[in-house]
């Protein structure tokens, strides 16, 4: 069973459908027991960091997420929430990734919206995905590169487009909106 975290961030429908399309059973839930017992957990995300963290803290989901031992995938805001802190609403986040989330300098159109390529790919998440493949991004904040970076993308500056620490994975792009490449990546995650 693949658990998709239900919280005050949008885009749950698309993630759920993409996982179903790959032949998995899903449950969209905020129940701690169901999350803890799931084979994999996905934190979807379109929303704002401080209100999302406030929601997670108020529902004690922050403690639950930190304690997960199965593979966890944070998508977009979901990935940023797994970092230490975000400049969006000066938010203290879950701290699974040792990265800070910063606002893009306004040197080009922000948010960074559209298809962009990923480079310096590492690890199982990108199995059978070529460097330079395009994924779909929509975000105004970015995570800096660090030792947990497993993919990088360039827009205004080089930033982390995917990261991993132990069983925690994150993608800044939306695999559920990235056509075939996105489905490959989700398949890789689901077969971990």
């Amino acid at each position: 069973m693949i658990a998709i975290l239900k919280y005050n961030a949008g885009n749950i429908f698309s993630v759920n459908h993409a996982v179903l399309a790959l032949g998995h059973k899903t449950v969209v839930t905020d129940n701690p027991d169901v999350l803890l017992k799931a084979d994999k957990v996905i934190l979807p995300g379109v929303g704002e960091a401080s209100s999302a963290m406030k929601y997670l803290n108020e529902h004690s989901l922050d403690v639950v997420i930190r304690s997960l031992t199965q593979p966890v995938l944070g998508i977009c805001l979901g990935m940023q929430l797994l970092c230490t802190a975000s400049e969006e609403g000066n938010t203290f986040c879950l701290g699974k990734f040792d990265h800070k989330v910063k606002k893009f300098p306004p040197k080009d159109l922000v948010p960074h919206t559209g298809w962009n390529s990923v480079h310096n790919l590492k690890g199982e998440l990108f199995r059978n995905i070529n460097p330079g493949s395009d994924f779909y991004f929509v975000h105004g904040f970015y995570a800096e590169s660090g030792i947990q970076t497993i993919a990088e993308t360039e827009y205004i500056l080089p930033f982390t487009s995917a990261m991993q620490q132990d069983n925690f994975f994150g993608t800044q792009f939306h695999p559920e909106k990235s056509g075939k490449n996105g489905l490959f990546l989700l398949k890789n995650f689901l077969s971990l």
Partner: protein
């Protein structure tokens, strides 16, 4: 590198894809779910669905259609037509739309843009502007092109952008359906003055038109309907041509 976007647009009436010239002479162009899947597999970067007969009684049909599309399409898509308030947006987003497009309602009540942006984020608000050239300048037109106004398109685009629009979809009514190329002048002027991405629409007829709009204006997306629906231009050939011309494109 960020890619330029090729965006097929599906005008929807009574659950079918339709296409007219100068917003009139409507012809049937197929089942929207089938077309959406086909365009996705051919390499469309996004899709836009505009319900041109959105009325209260048709809303449920549209929402059902949106959830059917969302369950088979794994690329971003925008839905527009008849959105008057934030509740309309919620039902479309909950059904699986990534963005919504608002046109006349936003012009008549610009606060709608900031209201939607505050709840769902600017990234999901596309402000569609239909514009016509009256011989002197480009003006805003409302109600699917039926109601002219005396407001210049450039002024309205600036205001929509500063009100929280995440994107401007600019359709030239003089060019719509003519296959004579995009309206480069007004597209360029608007893309230069707003701080959000501009999608050029109206007039696409051949690959050179897309090359022109991506090199002569700062538009980051280009929309077309009839050339794709009736098979005069295929997305793979168009994208290969643009890539060969050194346009940053997703193949």
């Amino acid at each position: 590198m960020l890619k330029k976007r090729i965006i097929p647009c599906l005008d929807i009436r009574d659950g079918r894809t339709v296409k007219g010239i100068h917003f009139e002479n409507i012809q049937d162009a197929g089942d929207p779910v089938e077309l959406a899947e086909r365009y996705m597999s051919e390499g469309a970067d996004e899709l836009i669905f505009l319900d041109i007969t959105a009325t209260v009684e048709k809303r449920k049909t549209l929402i059902q259609l949106v959830s059917q599309i969302a369950s088979v399409v794994q690329i971003p898509f925008t839905v527009g037509g008849g959105i008057q308030q934030t509740d309309d947006v919620r039902s479309l987003i909950d059904a699986g739309a990534d963005k919504i497009s608002i046109n006349s309602a936003a012009f008549l009540k610009p606060k709608l843009i900031s209201d939607i942006a505050a709840i769902f984020g600017s990234q999901c608000v596309v402000v569609a502007i239909d514009t016509f050239f009256n011989g002197e300048d480009w003006y805003v037109c409302l109600n699917g092109g039926r109601t002219p106004t005396d407001v210049k398109a450039e002024e309205w685009a600036k205001m929509a952008s500063s009100s929280g629009a995440g994107e401007i979809l600019l359709t030239s009514m003089n060019k719509d359906g003519t296959k004579s190329g995009f309206a480069l002048d007004i597209t360029s002027r608007i893309a230069d003055v707003v701080s959000v991405p501009v999608i050029a629409s109206g007039g696409a007829g051949n690959p050179e038109h897309f090359f022109e709009v991506f090199t002569k204006t700062k538009a980051t997306g280009a929309l077309a309907a009839s050339v794709f629906h009736f098979g005069e231009l295929t997305i793979p050939l168009l994208k290969q041509y643009l890539s060969d011309q050194k346009i940053s494109i997703r193949l």
